[in-house]
């Protein structure tokens, strides 16, 4: 067991190293001189010279990489040039927001997606099935920002039930926090629910036509037990894998939804940083997200190892 974990850990370090090179290298491919972008409307030549010197922009790529990487190793991801805040502080500020949004969206997606998928499989070729399919198609084809704006107009402007946008920390006011997060979480969850519904439906259909389900029915088991206990459990495996992948994507930020609802999460942070050529923020956030991904993968591998005895041999 220990050997396995150590083996996996040994691959993590070179992976992170390559990831860091990739992040750094790709960013250099961005057109535009960061010094000019950062020097503001005035673009004073003296200021541009100073910014070049400060960020080592005149030095070769490998030297700049060294400056950055040696900082990262010491736990220093640098400062945001735009607002003079340490990148680690920015990440810590945004992380809880992103995690909460991703979790809420995922719960909504799982509840809607799996329920709709099961119903449409069980009631195949009925109005229930057609309805669920229409819902899935709608969820897949509705752009997030458009749905977001419609929800704002309905629930915030017309009905006045929910705040139009913004974020309140749950530690400050839990009720206000949930009120602010429910619409963006629904918008994000809705799109994922549609994907999950399609997968649940096809997996359920396959399982429902399998021999053991027929046997279970032949035994005279209650249909509800057959569906929920015997069929759904097996059908859920691919759905959970897919859900985990979608959750990973949500954690790296949902740019458009965050923009529309003014949720200060990772997506907005990174997009603003790219446009402002705030290199240390882009590098820091991407590296952090990549590290989280790799760590989660490692944990998943360990979990498989523990759960599946066959892997141990």
């Amino acid at each position: 067991m220990l050997k396995f974990v150590l083996q996996r850990l040994a691959t993590v370090i070179p992976t992170l190293f390559f990831v860091s090179i990739l992040i750094f290298g790709l960013q250099q491919l961005l057109p535009g001189d960061p010094a000019i972008a950062l020097a503001g409307e005035e673009r004073d030549p003296e200021t541009i010279r100073y910014l070049r010197e400060k960020f080592h922009l005149d030095e070769p790529l490998y030297v700049r990489y060294w400056y950055w990487a040696s900082g990262v190793v010491r736990g220093d991801l640098g400062d945001s040039v735009r607002i003079q805040k340490p990148v680690t502080e920015l990440i810590m500020e945004k992380l809880p927001v992103t995690i909460q949004l991703a979790t809420m969206a995922m719960i909504i997606a799982l509840v809607i997606g799996i329920t709709a998928g099961v119903i449409s499989a069980v009631k195949k070729d009925t109005w229930w099935d057609y309805g669920a399919n229409v819902f899935a198609l709608w969820g897949l084809s509705t752009p997030n920002f458009w749905l977001g704006i419609l929800l704002i107009l309905l629930f915030a402007v017309q009905l006045g039930w929910l705040p139009a946008s913004g974020y309140v920390s749950p530690f400050e006011d839990l009720k206000a926090n949930l009120a602010a997060m429910i619409m963006p979480a629904f918008v994000l969850g809705n799109a994922i629910a549609a994907v999950l519904m399609r997968h649940t439906r096809s997996a359920m259909l396959q399982v429902l036509s399998s021999d053991y389900v027929r046997t279970a029915r032949a035994k005279g088991l209650d249909e509800r037990v057959v569906v929920m206990k015997h069929a759904l459990r097996n059908a859920l495996i691919p759905v959970i894998t897919l859900g985990a992948l979608e959750f990973g994507t949500l954690l790296s930020g949902a740019v458009l939804t965050e923009q529309v609802f003014t949720i200060p999460g990772f997506g907005k942070l990174i997009v603003d940083a790219v446009f402002n050529r705030d290199y240390s923020v882009v590098q820091g956030v991407v590296l952090f997200t990549a590290t989280v991904y790799i760590t989660l993968n490692l944990l998943a591998d360990v979990a498989y190892f523990l759960v599946n005895p066959r892997l141990r041999h």
Binding site: I36, R43, D44, S165, Q259
Partner: protein, 497 residues
């Protein structure tokens, strides 16, 4: 009587214990007046940091931290009398020494974005605690106007020394509100400064500035009552808002401009293209455009057509170079004379929707005269870099504007102007620009601008198109709003009824 007083006090407390919530169109950058770059940053500064001078609705310069000023006989030094008894948010005194420290910080700090504006300042003397003298290398007319913006903002020297480069994370100024917290991309919170010198004019306990990039969402927040005030309303939302008695709209013609910069000498590309090479082609291009129609279509009428670096309503507008009318026939004739009946060029355009719309309308209009324009949509930072290297033929570019016309002219059209992307350099224009900056006499300055306008209209390094309206919307309960053309939200006098 006692209960009456108690109720009156309770009422006053409720009235002033209010929060003003302002929706901004972008997230401001560093909140350090020396380093700051963005327009929205200046809106936040209007609540945080007082300046030596301010502007009124007619762009007159009025005192703020200063009480009066006097130029020396040779116009090479400016003596400023300071307001007495002003303190910074940390309790430090705002006196002549502090002003000297601040101006030197603006001028010398590494990475300062104020250096250019104050380049002409040679030294600063703190004559006595309430008198400061700014000595100049040469007379510089725009100095007072420069001091109405970030160069005139004073921060606490003690706090600035302690925080160094990170001062912007927790600014300490002497304005009506002091900094409380900032959550990047979410909000900036400031609260009333109890020792503000003009506290009678402050009627809010807190201000929360919230950046909401999407104009529709910004408006939805105002409509749902989550915001009291929003800046930059989308022109298409104005008719609806006008019919809603719960809200009021304020409109101001900006001091900046929107135009098309043409590469006339920035790089070799200028000579390779008829537009950069031949003034007749540029004249034809301008004659093919109908500015009023551009304003109507691209801005839904929410702008003032213009052909100079200042709006036609500005006192320094060159009247000898009035707005030209569209004349497609004449444009065709000019192209024929130039030997290029169908000139082709690429119009670089930032990806903002305004700029895209302008480019498309210009493309369609110029086509009627024979121009073949290719639109090249380019992300803003990239487009700036290309402009700086001269890798463009024409570029849709806006300037947010400065109170003094020099701030809209010198940096773009003086030979060594840092944003002279056109690569324009003419001896006579250069001399006139120098004259307009060194003369303190408004009539002489106006005459110089008039001559510059005539020459620039012949050479057309920039085809100016229009001056946008700053469109604000706010709850009808808010009163005391002052509409100053610099687009800043002055909090003094603002009140919720």
């Amino acid at each position: 009587m006692k209960w009456f007083v108690a109720i009156a006090i309770a009422f006053t407390t409720t009235a002033s214990a209010q929060t003003l919530r302002i929706g901004l169109a972008e997230d401001p950058d560093i909140l350090d007046p020396t380093m700051a770059r963005t327009f929205v940053g200046r809106i936040v500064f209007a609540g945080l940091c007082d300046k030596l001078f301010d502007l009124d609705e007619k762009l007159n310069i009025v005192p703020q931290l200063a009480t009066s000023h006097q130029w020396s006989a040779d116009n090479k030094s400016l003596t400023i009398k300071l307001r007495e008894g002003v303190t910074f948010h940390d309790g430090e005194k705002m006196d002549a020494q502090a002003v000297k420290y601040n101006l030197e910080r603006h001028k010398n700090m590494k990475g300062s974005n104020r250096r250019g504006e104050l380049a002409v300042v040679s030294s600063i003397d703190a004559v006595d605690p309430t008198t400061v003298r700014i000595n100049l290398e040469a007379p510089f007319a725009p100095l007072l106007a420069v001091l109405t913006d970030r160069s005139g903002m004073m921060v606490s020297p003690k706090a600035a020394e302690a925080a160094g480069e990170k001062f912007g994370a927790k600014p300490v100024c002497s304005g009506p509100f002091r900094f409380v917290e900032r959550i990047a991309q979410d909000r900036i919170v400031v609260e009333r400064f109890a020792n503000y010198w003009n506290k009678g004019q402050i009627h809010f306990e807190r201000i929360v500035y919230q950046p909401i990039v999407d104009a529709t969402v910004r408006l939805a927040n105002l409509r749902s009552g989550q915001l009291d005030f929003i800046e930059r309303v989308a022109p298409s939302d104005i008719p609806n808002l006008r019919n809603d008695s719960r809200f009021k709209i304020a409109k101001i013609v900006e001091i900046g401009y929107q135009g098309i910069t043409i590469n006339v000498g920035k790089s070799d590309l200028a000579q390779k293209n008829p537009l950069g090479r031949d003034p007749r082609v540029r004249e034809a291009f301008e004659l093919s455009l109908d500015r009023e129609a551009i304003v109507k279509v691209a801005m839904e009428g929410e702008a003032q057509a213009g052909n100079q670096w200042v709006a036609p309503s500005n006192r320094f507008y060159g009247k000898s170079a009035p707005l030209p009318k569209r004349n497609v026939e004449r444009a065709k004739q000019l192209l024929k004379e130039a030997g290029v009946p169908n000139p082709s060029f690429t119009l670089m355009t930032p990806t903002t929707s305004d700029a895209q719309r302008i480019a498309q309308i210009v493309q369609a209009m110029a086509k009627e005269a024979g121009f073949d324009i290719k639109i090249q949509s380019t992300e803003f930072a990239t487009s700036l870099n290309l402009a700086d290297k001269g890798q463009f033929e024409a570029y849709v570019l806006a300037w947010s504007g400065r109170a003094d016309p020099d701030g809209n002219l010198h940096t773009m059209l003086a030979c060594k102007g840092p944003t002279n992307y056109a690569g324009y350099c003419k001896d006579d224009v250069e001399k006139l620009i120098t004259e307009s900056r060194t003369s303190l006499d408004a009539t002489r300055r106006a005459a110089a601008y008039d001559k510059i306008a005539q020459q620039v209209q012949k050479d057309r390094p920039i085809v100016y198109l229009f001056h946008r309206h700053w469109l604000w919307a706010h709850t009808a309960k808010l009163s005391g709003l002052r509409t100053v053309p610099d687009g800043m939200v002055r909090v003094q006098g603002l009140k919720m009824n």
